[in-house]
């Protein structure tokens, strides 16, 4: 009997995704447009080089989704499994903003 479930499919897919790391950045664009534009104007140029990331301490068993929840404070929500971890990284948010403009 073939057991095909969407949840099972997701879990299978996640194993391979986790090995390369998946970061789906979804900037919240609710901030005032002029404020965003001003912030972007002051951003340093983004190069095409890929920053070498340190090896992940432990592989993830589920997709990792990052949601930039507050552009002004650099607040990022990391969603993994059924957890949500919130932290601030203004530098990363700045780089992400540059990448989408």
């Amino acid at each position: 009997m073939a057991k095909v479930t969407r949840r099972g499919f997701i879990m299978q897919s996640s194993a391979s995704i986790a090995t390369i790391g998946m970061l789906a950045a979804l900037p919240t664009l609710s901030a005032a447009p002029e404020a965003t534009e001003a912030a972007v104007a002051e951003l340093p140029a983004v190069t095409n080089s890929v920053t070498e990331l340190p090896a992940v301490a432990a592989p993830l068993s589920a997709p990792l989704i990052a949601h930039v929840s507050d552009l002004a404070t650099g607040e990022i929500s990391l969603l993994v499994g059924t957890q949500e971890i919130t932290y601030r990284d203004s530098e990363l948010v700045t780089r992400l903003l540059r990448a989408v403009h």
Binding site: M1, A2, K3, V4, T5, R6, R7, F9, I10, S13, S14, A24, L26, A62, P63, L64, I65, H67, S77, L79, V80, G81, T82, Q83, E84
Partner: protein, 457 residues
Amino acid sequence: MSSHREAPEISKDPVADNTDVYAFVSPDRPDTVTLIANFIPLEAPDGGPNFYEFGEDVLYEIHIDHNGDGVAEITYQFRFQVQVRNPSTFLYNTGPITSLDSPNWNRRQFYSITRVDDQGHSTTLASGLACPPCNIGPLSTPNYAELAQMAVHKLASGETVFAGQRADGFYVDLGAVFDLLDLRPFQNLHVMPRHPAPGVNGLEDVNVHSIAIQVPKTLLTQGGYNPTNPHDPRSVIGVYASASRQKALIFDGRGDMVESGPFVQVSRLGEPLINEVIIPMGRKDYWNSQDPRDDRQFVEYYQHPEVASLLPALYPGVFPHLAAYNKPRADLVAILLTGIPSGIIPGFQNFTGKTQADLLRLNLAIPPAEKPNILGLLGGDLAGFPNGRRVFDDVVTVELRAIAGLTIPLVDPHFKPDAAASVVSDFSPPQIPPGVHYKQQFPYLGLPFSGFDVPSA
């Protein structure tokens, strides 16, 4: 409808759309209470080849508050999983389905049930429980009643559960309600009068997906109290159901999706018709996201319900006393948000304290009625709505009459209700419309309509 497609966002997400909640002392097992939460509104019985099923990515919950704080002390969680035998066929079944493990049944659904206590401790009560198939027709599901009965599971922990398709037991003249409240057969009294016509059940011949659980009363009450005294606060429980989805959803472009993050509530329901007709359009989605304990923020809509001002405007001269009444509707706040205290209705109370919360409040010490009245408390039947809600209760007429002013004297004895307030009804006289059917035993909602038979030739 009761809560079918009642808010803009959830109307686009049927598998998470909680349509009705029922809570009543089981008539055939009065030491137990039956809780039912329905989802997936307006299922067309012939809606194949992908017949209806619960969402694998939805967290379904039934919550019980037994101390009046608007917060659940006990929650039953239900999670579903689909198993496909053969992904190479488009067919739901390749022959008659005569058992829940029939090799002819290609797409089956199973579920787990978990009980969570007020300390957050989770106990998985069972897993791998089979749902019945949808009612396809006489060739595919030849003995549907037997199949459905196979999907009634008795758990070692004391509960009995069922999850699957049933006939929708709710009834309402939907077309009339939403056509400027042109209630049949009272059209001749409407501001745009027309010839009277009998009421039409807008939910005729449609199915729904039900999660039903029958629980010994003492598993739900505070401290395991055995409810025998109707006036003991411990006899009253508050019930609501909810559906939640994970916070993030990404379509991967390959026909699948990725979900991640904690579950957030997208649908909830306690009392019928609240988000449907009490809460205004701009706050319906927000209401669905909120917990009952915070319902004080919505009290103005109960105090000044829009329908109470529409009735005198749409039926000129029919509701003069209601039109002149401009006090906040303390009667509706009591009935719908706190419960009815002792001393108002002889032998009855379902008061849960000052916390205003949308909960279906059930006094477990009130025994089932020998001759139930579908108008519940308004019909002198203490075991009926709004003391909990039975599957057959005419909640539309009860709430319509309450909003029309019939219950104002409970809190304001000087008010004289308009004559129409005790006559207005969804169907006239109040009745269960033809074709709506129920069962005498768990899960009490009737067998689903068959896809072969509905719509009929």
